[in-house]
Structure formats: structure tokens, C-alpha cells
Amino acid sequence: MLLRHTPKEIKERKVLAINPAKTCQPIGAMYAALGIHGCLPHSHGSQGCCAYHRSTLTRHYREPIMAATSSFTEGASVFGGQANLLQALLTMFTTYDPDIVAVHTTCLSETIGDDVNQIVKKAYKDGTIPKGKHVIHTSTPSYVGSHVTGFSNMVKSMAVQLAEKTGRANGKLNIVPGFVEPSDMVEIKRIAGMLGIDSILFPDTSGVLNGPLTGKFHMYPKGGVSIKALKSIGDSRGSIGLGEWASADAVRALDAQFKVPCQVQDLPIGLLATDRFVDALRIAAGVSVPDAVTQERGQLLDVISDMQPHLYGKKVAIAGDPDQVIALTEFLVTIGMKPVHIVTGTPGKAFIKRIKEITARFGDDINVKCPGDLFLLHQWIKNEPVDLLICNTYGKYIARDEDIPFVRHGFPILDRIGHSYIPTVGYKGGLHLLEKILGVLMDRTDRDAPEERFELVE
């Protein structure tokens, strides 16, 4: 098997990533930019970067991904990419007619020191950017952080570069959903709506990357947060950022620059995190939690208790992005499972501390690594086997090699559908997650049961 290349014995590695649990910043920036209606993401670097990001996003969402590139050549790398970016802006606005272009950098343009801010200013001045059109930009060096960092950087840029403060309150609440699926974004809006909250969710990839088949190819699908809405976020009465890694920078910057009070919550995955999110919404709206929400919560709790015997004490290995993994770990602990190996590829000091707090009841019995890779996760599993693995598609090698029930979660998912249509956030999302977890666990019980113990009712 493929990963027989993974030895059980663990040696400290300092200079090498094997089977990464992350990818680079620009793809996160591209994904975030697709969450603005009428936006054409632009990759300021070599053609390959853009092609890889588009291919990966296409495989994950099974949707056309539109993005342009500065098509760097050797000359641009020596003399700087200004000419390329100016030409690119001209090409994009004259041909593809986007409302907005969101430029992100790459390791190449960062290292040669292109001043994108200045180039964009020049383009505005020259009239290369037509009147009424917008260009935002963010710095996403691939050698810092991960795809989550790139997402966060682009979200922050869209906030501070587009927001305007008119002084007239718009009565709305900003919600930054984090690096989640379009389905999750819809669900977050729905929950806010149930509490009667008029929200501006950004970025919003719903309707962009989970669109219907219309028989037409739309360069700019219907979804996405509007530029008009983004401009008004400086007048909102508050912001909730979901996820420290993906959303905090944006809401804090809005707070600092436009005095929009912010709070950062965990991603609302699982019962408790959703409780906290709903509570925050309730306080913001000044309402009590409506029955419909309580009903959904009760249903999730009901299923958890019904199935508790199947969950208790089961060991789990998790790899993914930090915001997701923190919330997931909490959910698993809440429902009686025991996450024993936890890896994220994205650096950030708070991660290990949060995980330790969440798993405190298990003492020092938990392996956590940040930043770590899937090679290490696999080695840990070899040393202490688990009953369940939760990871993006790349976990399938480990799952097959070690014969572990496997739930796909995170980015990218290259071999299954559903993630972009069915949420995992909120109470409904919790139910969906639970269904997936129980499904693989109970299938395994059935598969392995000797005939006399192969039960009809479980």
C-alpha cells in the first residue's frame, strides 16, 4: 500500500514536510474573493499558481472557477511585475467586465518586492480601472502561514478596503463565516435570520460555488456578497467573526478603523459552539431565542443521547484547519468521544492551548501538533490506533492503510459530494455530522461482526 512508506518509529523532523495538512496562502485568498458578487480573483504571479488553485477549487466544488493571472515571465521576475499587473487589469476590465477585481500576491511577486498598493493606485489614476469598478488587493506570500492565512488576509482586505463609514447606522450585523463551505454560509445566514437579524455575511460563496445547473455558463454567478453591502459594513452595529484564524483579523480591523464593535467566536460546529453563536446573536438582536431554534437544538441533543452508547469512549484522530479542528474537537468531546491525535498544518500559538483546554478531562493523554502534517498523524495512529479518522480527502490513504472508519471534513474534498450543499455548522449541521460519524462507525460494526452477532437492530 501507498503509505507503507510511513514507518511507525517517530523521529523529529525540522526541515521537511511530508504529506502536508495545509496548502499555500493564495488559494485561500482566491476562495474568499469568489465570495464577492461579480468578482474576478487575480493571481499576481506565474501562470501555474493560478492554474493549480483553479484546478484544486474545481475538484473540490465541481464548479467552474474563474480567476486571472499576471502570467509572470523571466522578464517580469527581473524587472518587476508592474507592467504585467497593469496589462492584466486592462485585459480583465475590457474583456471580462467584472465589478471588482481582487488581487492577491504569490511567493514570486512578494519576493521580488512588487508594490501592489502603488500599482493599483496608478491604475486608478490612469483610468485603467473604469469608473465605478473596484480593485482590492492583499498580500499572500506562500511561505508564511497557510491557505487559511491567505483567506483571512483577503477577508480583511475586502473589509478595510471597501468599507465606508457614513455615520448613518445601517442596523445590520456583520458576520464573517470563516473558511467554510458555501452550504455553511447559507446555514449561518439562516440561523441569523431565525433570530430576526439583518446580517451582512462576507465573504459569501453560496450561490457562487454551489450554484444550480441552469444550462448556462455564468462568468459571475448570482451569489456572493454585493459590493454595496460590503461598503456599508463600516456602518454596522457590530461584527461577529467565526474562527480566530480565518475571521478575527477582519472584524478586529473593522473595529479599529471604523469602530464597529467586534467579537470572535468559534466556528459553530457542534452543540456548544452553536449555543455560543446563537447566544451572541440573541444578545446582538436583543431577542429571546425563538422556539424554532430551540427545537433544532433539542433534536440534535435527542439524537446525541439516543446514540450515546455508540459514541462513548471511541478514539478519534483529526486533521484539518485550526478553526474547524477546535470546534470539531469540542463537539467530539461533548458527545463522549475521545480525540487522541490532533494535527493542523496552519501555525498559530493558541491552537495547542485551546485543544488542551477542550481535552483537559483526558489529561496529557492527547497528541497535538501545530503545525504538523499527515505523515506524523499517520505515525501516531500506528502507535495508538483509533476508531475514527476525520480529515480532508488526503486522509483516505491513512484510513485505507490502517483500516479506520473515515469521515471526510475540511478542504479539499476531492472524491465525494455533499460538502458544498449540506452544512456542518449549526444544530442541523451537527445532526449531519453525527449522521456521517455514526454511519461509518456502525457500518464498521456490521462489516466486522461475526454472523451470530450481526444484529438487525442497533
Binding site: L40, G48, C49, E74, Q87, T111, G215, K216
Partner: protein, 458 residues
């Protein structure tokens, strides 16, 4: 229906047969800002070398380049699978400042110690070219210390197009072959199979044919590849090159340095497969037995597949196909194969075709066929709808575009799972085409429900 405008600068890269004098502009750099489907130098090198299964493939750069190319190509191995692991030096900010040479050396020594690979390929990414790491020197040192070939691949992304990446890979391969210091002895009736990557097991099919003909296959470059085999390549009597762009450069080098002649062939479709096998047999005409065996083989194989092809042809007769491929050479075979199935090609394009290629395409195609160089999603959508295609043949980025418009799709590229080469491959191809073109799903899409049947692009 509003029609899509074509980029003014791109007019010379689009040709509609019969409409204007033929003058195709190609082999140019992509226009900055275009949503090109092209990739970079690194991508070209990576796909060519990737199938060498017992070599270490270490990507020297930030994590992205390794993440995006981790096991995305179904190049099968009958033995070791080291190539399916993802190894990266995962360069960080300090490496960019102080250089990554030390890290590279350490990583290489660690990996060679851990896996005892037969050789190591070190891929240089954009950033490595900019910060000026002396990768060659590191490779020389490590080669000396470990006594295995350690070969730098100069695939810095910005140094050209994917084609330049093929060339860099060829240079690396030639350098590997050159390391074989044993005197060259030409093996009678022997060939190297070049430019064949064993996607879905295609190498195995082709090898089987050659074995039946009495041809000895010295090495396959690089499908199901092994370092030792590749190093023997200098002893073959003939190089048989498939896939126009990727390894012709290596064949030329071997011709110049070793006097090994080469022929260019395709194994796609009945006509081209037969032609390929015949030409090899004719080359070895001092062995009349071989020609006899070849005739028998082809007769037997063709007879075996004709009935099922005829059955499928009944449903496919007159259906229209659009083709967008990497190298134009592949398009020639595809046009012939589609004709075998009674289908007509209404759009043919490639990412990297040459003037010569497009002239051949023009001659092959019917009046009205649209020919495209380095196209983009808008053009592909525009012309496939205008030409009312029933089938789109392309790669990962084209798939969702075709599906969004309600057009059947067939993958000819990395993501195909079944072998399409040779005679049995032709049946597989026909089944794929038949399956998607005649699928009842397309009756549900709006395009087929409007009176003109030609709605589809905004």
C-alpha cells in the same frame, strides 16, 4: 442570447475553418489578465517525472507546489509507490531571507536515509530561482555523500510555459541516463517507449502489444518507471515517442548523443495505434517475423473490438464534439477516433500547439470547425454552445464548464481512470463517450428544452 466578445488581442489565436485565410498565432505567452487554462514550468516537469515510482521527488519551495501536485495524476505503478508521497522543504520566511540550501541538503539526506530511493529529483520552484539557492551544488554534494543520482530539475515556474517544464524534465532524464557509465550496447529489436505515463494502466497495454510483436522494451519514460530501467535507455535501438510536447526533446538529445533514431506516434484510436505498431515493425524490417506478428496482432485486436464499436456508433453517428487538450498532437488522434465513432469535431484547441500542429488540425477538420490556441473558459463555452456540441473532451478545469451547459464530458487528462490507448482503450473511450453523450441526464437540462437548442451562454 448575448454573445461573448472575444479578446481583441486573441483574435489571431482563434480560427474558424473556411472563414478567413489561415494564420494562427501560437507559441506565444498568454496575455496577462486572461483566464488562461495553462499552467507553469514546474507543472510540466512534475507531470513528466512523477511516474518514476522508485525515485524520491522532493519539491524545493513553499508548501503549495507540493500540495497541489500530491498524487493528482493516476500514473500507476506495479511496484513501489514512493512517487505518491508528497515531500516538500516547506520554505518559510526565514529561508527566503537566508536561503534554503541548508534545509534542502538536510531534507535530502534525511529522506534518502529513510527511503533508500534509487535516485532523487529536486524540483526548483519560482522562489528558489529568485532567492538564488545553488541547488546544483547541493545535489552534487548529496550525490557524493549518498552515492545515488541526485538530479536538480530547473522548473522555476516563471521561466516559461509548461512546455519549458517538459524540457527541464527531459534534461533531468538525460542527465540520469548519462550517469550510466557502462558501455552502450544496442539491444536488437529494442525500443524505449517515450511520453507514456501509465495513466489508468496504459503503459501495460502498449507493452503487451510490443511483446506480442517480439519487440523488447528497454524502458518506458516514464510510465510505471524505474530508475534502473531509465538508465538503460541508451541501449535501445529506437525511441518511440508518444505525446507531442513532452519528451521529444529527450528523443532528440538521444539521437544527437547516441545516434538512436526516433519516431513520433500515437496510441489513441484504431488507426493511430495500428500505424504506430506497423511503423515500429517496419523499422525492424531485418526481422520479417515481426511484421507478420504485427499484422496478426492488429487483425486479431481490431476484429475483437469492431462489433462493440459498431453498436455504439449507431447512437453516436452525427453527434458533435469539442476538444481542448494540452498538446495538439493528442487532438489529431482524437479527431480520427471520434470519426471512427461517426462523430464530427466542431471545436479543436490546445494549450501549447505549434504553427505546424494547427496547420495539420486545419487540414483534418471540416468547414466551420473552430480552432483555438491557449483558450479560456468564455471562448470554450461560447463556441461549444454556438456549435451545439454534444460532447466536450478536456481536463479538470473544462469539466464543470461543460456540465454547467449540459454537455457530456470525457476526461482525456490526469483524472481519467480507465486506459484509453490501444485497441481495448478505443473500446473504453467509445464506452465513455457513448455513456456521456447518450445519458438521459442531458434531456433534463434547459439547453435541450428550448426550441432552438442553442441557449446557453451569457
Amino acid at each position: 442570447m448575448t454573445s461573448i466578445s472575444v479578446l481583441k488581442q486573441r483574435e489571431k489565436q482563434i480560427y474558424q475553418k473556411g472563414k478567413q485565410p489561415f494564420e494562427m498565432e501560437c507559441e506565444t505567452k498568454s496575455l496577462a489578465g486572461a483566464v488562461s487554462q495553462r499552467a507553469c514550468v514546474f507543472c510540466g516537469s512534475r507531470v513528466v517525472l512523477y511516474p518514476i515510482a522508485d525515485a524520491l521527488h522532493l519539491i524545493h519551495g513553499p508548501i503549495g507546489c507540493a500540495s497541489y501536485t500530491w498524487d493528482i495524476r493516476g500514473a500507476l505503478s506495479s511496484g513501489p509507490e514512493l512517487h505518491r508521497m508528497s515531500f516538500s522543504t516547506d520554505l518559510s520566511e526565514t529561508d527566503i531571507i537566508y536561503g534554503g540550501e541548508k534545509k534542502l541538503k538536510k531534507a535530502l539526506l534525511e529522506l534518502i536515509d529513510k527511503y533508500s530511493p534509487k535516485a532523487a529529483f529536486i524540483y526548483c520552484t519560482c522562489i528558489v530561482g529568485i532567492i538564488g539557492d545553488d541547488v546544483d551544488a547541493v545535489c552534487r554534494q548529496v550525490e557524493k555523500e549518498t552515492d545515488i543520482p541526485v538530479i536538480p530539475v530547473h522548473s522555476e515556474g516563471f521561466k516559461g510555459t509548461k512546455k519549458d517544464g517538459y524540457k527541464a524534465a527531459c534534461d533531468a532524464l538525460f542527465s540520469l541516463i548519462e550517469r550510466n557509465k557502462a558501455p552502450r550496447v544496442t539491444i536488437p529489436d529494442s525500443i524505449n517507449i517515450l511520453g507514456e505515463f501509465n495513466i489508468g494502466g496504459e503503459t501495460w497495454i502498449i507493452k503487451k502489444y510490443y511483446e506480442a510483436m517480439g519487440v523488447k522494451v528497454v524502458s518506458v519514460i516514464t510510465g510505471d518507471g524505474r530508475v534502473d530501467e531509465v538508465m538503460q535507455a541508451g541501449n535501445a535501438a529506437l525511441n518511440v515517442v508518444q505525446c507531442s510536447g513532452s519528451v521529444t526533446h529527450l528523443a532528440k538529445q538521444m539521437q544527437e548523443e547516441y545516434g538512436i533514431p526516433y519516431i513520433r506516434v500515437s496510441y489513441f484510436g484504431i488507426e493511430d495505434t495500428s500505424d504506430a505498431l506497423y511503423r515500429v515493425a517496419v523499422f525492424f524490417d531485418q526481422n520479417p517475423e515481426m511484421l507478420k506478428k504485427t499484422k496478426e496482432l492488429i487483425k486479431k485486436e481490431v476484429q475483437a473490438i469492431i462489433p462493440s464499436l459498431e453498436t455504439m456508433k449507431k447512437d453516436l453517428e452525427g453527434k458533435k464534439a469539442a476538444i481542448y487538450v494540452g498538446g495538439a498532437f493528442k487532438a489529431f488522434s482524437m479527431i480520427k477516433a471520434l470519426r471512427t465513432l461517426g462523430m464530427e469535431v466542431v471545436l479543436a484547441g490546445s494549450q501549447t500547439g505549434t504553427q505546424e500542429d494547427y496547420e495539420v488540425l486545419r487540414q483534418m477538420c471540416n468547414e466551420g470547425t473552430v480552432i483555438l490556441d491557449d483558450s479560456n473558459p468564455l471562448e470554450l463555452a461560447k463556441y461549444s454552445v454556438e456549435k451545439d456540441a454534444d460532447l466536450f473532451i478536456g481536463g479538470v478545469k473544462e469539466r464543470p464548464i461543460a456540465y454547467k451547459m449540459g454537455i457530456g464530458f470525457c476526461d482525456h487528462n490526469h483524472e481519467r481512470k480507465i486506459p484509453l490507448v490501444g485497441f481495448e482503450g478505443m473500446v473504453n473511450f467509445a464506452k465513455e463517450v457513448h455513456g456521456t453523450v447518450t445519458s438521459p441526464v442531458w434531456d433534463l437540462v434547459p439547453r435541450r428544452q428550448t426550441p432552438t437548442g442553442k441557449e446557453g451562454v451569457i
